[in-house]
């Protein structure tokens, strides 16, 4: 990389490019000196690179703004280009709804105001445009309040600029800024407060009313900005390098730019509530998601004592680094982007420590609902890297976060619990599985459904999967009793492995094994199965012998399983032709692999891949009576259910991708065809002299070639169309199957919950009240209160380690209901986009009046439906 690039890229960092110093003023002067000379060279791409840096390293925006300001004094055109390009990029970002880009570009424009490159009034025009669009959106008469998410986002963008340029703006255009602030206040008074129902990491079980009284994210930001304003716009977290260059900067010309425009919202739904409103609201929240939901996991005396606005700014910095340095350059081994990510997170331009805030921010992303911007494994990696980058400080902070989350695990959303289990086991596997397990050995005294106990058990299960039993056993040496929570050690449980098994079945199994060994084909095995087992012993024995034996042949590894399925899936398909048999098949799998949750899940997953099992059969099996009994004590069945749904979802996603690809192919094939056709027609219309005689058409060789390529192009169009139609037919079938899947899932949930909720809370149900929702809250309170009483005890006793008796008094049935309802909510939330299109049918067939209000509440809050 040339030196000017490195200087722009590395500005503000303690690095060799800047002689290892950390003085912003020096950095800017050095960089300015080089870039100024470089600008004299024709054809330099400084502009593009500078804008890229400003967009992708937004925590350095004040430095870039000042740099452009200094260049503006000498090279007005360059600065004008910066302004114009930024405005164009912002306009594009608004059109596409590219939230991150909108936010960052507005911050850059603010920095350009601070360095006198842009007129403050131009930025105010941007503010006013966004404000007016937002106000229109939430207007019930003229706008479309279902798109409030977009309006809120615009307002948050305006407010987010103020930490970077509040004092300059107030100084330069006080009245205009006052007008904007009044406008925002007016906006806040007409919009609806955004509820956290369905997406909060912790259930607000202790205070049901709290959720509605609490400020939402926008009101919170507004409060912080007001604090900032009251504090004379002074804050510690935003560097202001422009102050050192004020005398020079004023000499530059302040540029102006034309108006921008915001895209129109879609037409409003017919009613301000109901299904069509809900669908649009869901779409809007998907497109303009809330960036962070703060997790307050550390006690106040531990976290850094920051001004409220500084906390906001540091969160912005961290989220931006996570976003823009998301590990891409792994392609290039010489630059380890991941280290860059950790290094930037550790080296933010702020004069205070922020390890706790950093941990809270990362955990808030890992646990963000409905989903984090990246796969959870990314945050796992970031935490690992930070533990290595700050070995003295960060591991202890992470441990503190784990303890705090563990203490409140009973309140934690089910989806978040799963993510936490996966993260924690993976994290420990990267640090020799070391953890002070003795702190948690008290969970053995808790009932087997206590969330803390289940958490420990599931973490150990995942550790064993990532490693092996003996290793994990050894890692709990300091709490040997926890061995009780380890998964069983044994391998497969082959029915015909012991001598005491049925002699006839044993012989048949041996015969099948030798057939497989003798490379008999699937067809031969089928005819043997039909003749020698089904005809003689009956279907049930045939199924058991064949499935057990084939599983055993494929038991050595994942690849062995796939191989045996690939060779003999027809045999299994033959013996399991309908849903009842499929359920028997799953039963055999779960018997054979009763010692391994992983292999049970994996085998079922692969069988679904070979379409030996339908998702409906898996759902039905999960809800069979013996399985239901495990809902609250283990993740085993939920994993299988999650896999079945996500595999269905992945298939649909793949089809959608293929279809959009094929649609583009159709367009290009048609284009090509019409081009060839035009060429052919042109050639046909030409007169050529043949043997002295004029004939229509060009020379025959070329004509023949053109004709055949026109023919081919036409065929190509037809064939692409055909594959598009085929895929569309597949997709429509898949969507029907998906609808059937969710109907079945919800019916099953509703049924099992109905029985148990009635059994448990039957008396409450007799309270006839028209308000299902209010009742639902009441009902939840009763169990919530018990839970709350208990949640205090673990916290106290965990510090002194002494704990006797049962420290968790939620009864088994209560816990069963809480867990199952938690999963109803989690599934609804995760697949909300797939469920909303089928909501009418779901309402008609499942969510009828008879349904239990708590079940309805769980579904509704998962879908964020009002």
């Amino acid at each position: 990389m040339s030196s000017w690039r490195n200087l722009i890229l590395r500005i503000g960092e303690k690095c060799p490019e800047y002689g290892g110093t950390n003085d912003f003023k020096d950095h800017i002067e050095t960089c300015f000196g080089v870039v100024r000379r470089e600008l004299e060279q024709p054809g330099s791409d400084i502009l593009t690179f500078l804008l890229q840096c400003a967009e992708q390293l937004p925590h350095k925006i004040p430095l870039y703004g000042t740099l452009v300001g200094l260049l503006n004094v000498e090279n007005e055109d360059f600065a004008r280009n910066v302004v114009e390009n930024t405005q164009k990029n912002l306009q594009d970002a608004l059109e596409y709804g590219n939230c991150d880009r909108i936010r960052v570009l507005m911050r850059f424009l603010t920095a350009l105001v601070c360095s006198k490159v842009l007129q403050a009034s131009s930025l105010v025009v941007v503010f006013e445009t966004l404000l007016s669009s937002a106000a229109t959106t939430v207007d019930e008469e003229k706008g479309n309040p279902s798109w409030q998410a977009c309006a809120d986002f615009y307002i948050s963008c305006i407010l987010s600029c103020l930490p970077w340029g509040g004092s300059e703006l107030v100084e330069q255009v006080p009245e205009e800024i006052e007008r904007v602030m009044v406008g925002i206040q007016a906006y806040l008074s007409i919009r609806r407060r955004v509820s956290n129902v369905g997406v909060s990491v912790f259930e607000d079980i202790d205070a049901p009313g709290k959720a509605t009284n609490e400020k939402d994210f926008l009101e919170d930001l507004w409060g912080r900005i007001q604090d900032l304003s009251n504090n004379g716009w002074k804050l510690d977290s935003v560097p202001r390098p422009q102050l050192s260059f004020e005398a020079q900067l004023v000499a530059g010309k302040s540029h102006d730019f034309g108006p921008i425009s915001c895209p129109e919202q879609p037409d409003p739904p017919a009613a301000l509530s109901g299904i069509s409103f809900g669908k649009q609201k869901h779409e809007a929240e998907l497109k303009y998601p809330q960036r962070i939901r703060r997790l307050n996991i550390f006690p106040a005396n531990k976290t850094e004592d920051l001004q409220s606005i500084d906390r906001f700014v540091v969160e912005e910095y961290l989220l931006d680094v996570l976003l823009f340095l998301n590990g891409w350059s792994f392609l290039d081994k010489e630059v380890d982007d991941r280290k860059e990510c950790a290094a930037y997170m550790v080296g933010l331009p702020v004069p205070f420590r922020y390890e706790y805030l950093m941990a809270e921010t990362i955990f808030s992303q890992l646990l963000l609902l409905p989903q984090p911007p990246f796969k959870p494994i990314y945050y796992t990696l970031v935490i690992i890297d930070l533990c290595k980058a700050l070995p003295g400080a960060f591991p202890a902070v992470v441990a503190g976060a784990v303890r705090s989350l563990f203490d409140r695990i009973a309140e934690l959303d089910m989806e978040c619990r799963t993510r936490l289990i996966l993260w924690f086991s993976h994290h420990l596997s990267n640090f020799q599985f070391i953890w002070p397990w003795d702190e948690w050995s008290y969970v053995l005294d808790l009932p087997k459904w206590a969330p803390q106990r289940v958490f420990v058990q599931e973490v150990l299960e995942r550790e064993v999967r990532l490693s092996y039993w003996d290793k994990v056993k050894q890692s709990i040496e300091n709490a040997p009793a926890l061995e009780e929570l380890l998964p069983p050690k044994g391998g497969p449980n082959f029915k015909y492995g012991a001598d005491d098994s049925d002699k006839i079945e044993l012989a048949l199994s041996a015969e099948l094994k030798s057939m497989v060994k003798g490379r008999q084909t699937a067809r031969e095995v089928i005819s043997w199965m039909e003749g020698s087992i089904i005809a003689v012993q009956g279907w049930e024995i045939a199924l058991r012998v064949v499935v057990q034996t084939l599983l055993d042949i494929g038991s050595k590894s994942f690849t062995h399983l796939i191989t045996v399925l690939e060779r003999y899936w027809q045999v299994i398909a033959k013996i399991c032709p309908d849903q009842d048999k499929e359920i028997m098949l799953i039963n055999e799998v779960s018997l054979y692999w009763k010692n391994s949750a992983q292999l049970t899940a994996l085998t079922i997953d692969r069988m679904m891949g070979y379409r030996l099992l339908s998702n409906l059969a898996i759902v039905k099996w999960v809800f069979t009576p013996t399985n239901i009994e495990q809902f609250h004590t283990s993740d085993r069945l939920w994993e299988i259910l999650r896999n079945a749904i996500s595999k269905t979802y992945n298939r649909i996603t793949d089809l959608r991708k293929e279809i959009s690809y094929l649609k583009r192919s159709v367009l290009s094939a048609e284009e090509a065809a019409s081009k060839v056709k035009a060429e052919l027609e042109l050639a046909e219309s030409k007169l050529t002299l043949m043997d002295g005689e004029p004939v229509l058409g060009e020379n025959p060789v070329r004509m023949k070639r053109l004709k055949s390529s026109a023919e081919r192009a036409k065929e190509e169009v037809v064939s692409v169309y055909e594959s598009l139609e085929a895929k569309e037919a597949l997709l429509s079938r898949a969507l029907d199957e998906n609808e059937a899947l969710f109907l079945s899932l919800y019916k099953n949930f509703s049924n099992v919950l109905m029985e148990r909720l009635h059994g448990l809370l039957g008396n409450n149900m007799l309270r006839k009240s028209g308000k299902a929702d209010a009742m639902a809250i009441d009902l939840e309170d009763s169990s919530a209160m018990e839970l709350d009483k208990e949640s205090e005890r673990p916290q106290k006793s965990s510090s002194n380690g002494g704990r006797t008796g049962s420290g968790y008094s939620v009864g088994e049935k209560d816990q069963w209901c809480l867990s199952t309802l938690g999963y109803v909510k989690a599934f609804s939330r995760q697949y909300a986009s797939e469920i909303w299109p089928h909501i009418e049918k779901l309402d008609a067939e499942v969510l009828t009046e008879e349904v239990h209000p708590l079940f309805r509440k769980a579904v509704y809050s998962g879908l964020r439906r009002e």
Partner: protein, 254 residues
């Protein structure tokens, strides 16, 4: 995203000498591939461990373990095929350099698995890098192959029981010392209930008499390693006794 740091002209420093095309085709293959190569694995890591870790980046289609040409046992690498490019990218981004089975593994894009690539390319059957290694690493088969051959030659000359091998005690696992503490290794329980050996026998059985010489060498080396360090990871499962063909078949099929 951060294209800023990247030299866009360089995709991978590593170029597979056996790739049957031009450099551009190689790079195109890497840019579109849904297969990743995983290196620096322990020989004892099972497919199920790989599955558990790598499925966190996305749904896995297939795993192909790299095997020693001669012993047909894992030799420290594998290929993983995903269903989507995005998931393969995430595996490379998020898993490379992290720990699996106590070892920092390397994950790279691969140009696509083909039959034959599961075999180690070293002259002794394993990976080339294991030919020349001179350190002792019990997770990846003790000493490098050349050193091993030398040791065995010495034994054939001098040793009829407790000879020269005993005078060359293997260095104990440096990597654990680095992490401090006696955590994670060396417990006597690690000897118990291990079916790893049986697996070795079974695998060896399959290949009959013609390689019995090597097998016995191999076994004796195994045993000598065993003295100094317990074998690892009993998750190699033993199942029925008729899966040998399956193994062959699978290798032929790819």
């Amino acid at each position: 995203m951060a294209l800023l740091f990247k030299d866009p002209n360089k995709i991978s420093a590593y170029r597979d000498r056996r790739f049957p095309g031009t450099q551009e085709e190689f790079e195109h293959a890497l840019l579109t591939s849904i297969t990743v190569y995983v290196g620096n694995m322990s020989f004892y890591t099972t497919e199920e461990q790989v599955y558990e870790l790598f499925s966190r980046a996305g749904e896995i289609k297939k795993i192909v373990m790299g095997l020693d040409k001669n012993t047909k046992t894992p030799c420290g690498f594998c290929f993983i095929m995903y269903y989507s490019r995005e998931d393969a990218e995430d595996a490379v981004k998020y898993i490379s350099g992290t720990i699996l089975d106590d070892r920092p593994i390397r994950v790279d894009f691969d140009w696509g698995f083909q039959e034959g690539r599961q075999w180690g390319r070293g002259r002794s059957g394993g990976q080339v890098r294991d030919e020349y290694r001179t350190d002792y690493d019990p997770d990846i088969g003790g000493y490098g192959k050349l050193v091993q051959r030398e040791l065995e030659a010495q034994r054939q000359l001098v040793d009829y029981g407790t000879g020269s091998l005993a005078s060359l005690p293997p260095v104990m696992v440096p990597q654990y010392g680095r992490h401090g503490g006696n955590h994670g290794h060396g417990g006597s329980h690690r000897h118990g209930g291990r079916d790893y050996h049986r697996k070795r026998h079974r695998e060896d059985d399959r290949h009959g008499m013609d390689i019995s010489k090597r097998t016995s060498d191999h076994e004796s080396r195994r045993n000598s390693d065993q003295d100094s360090r317990p074998e690892k990871n009993p998750r190699f499962r033993e199942s029925g006794d008729s899966d040998d063909d399956e193994d062959d078949d699978r290798k032929r099929r790819h």
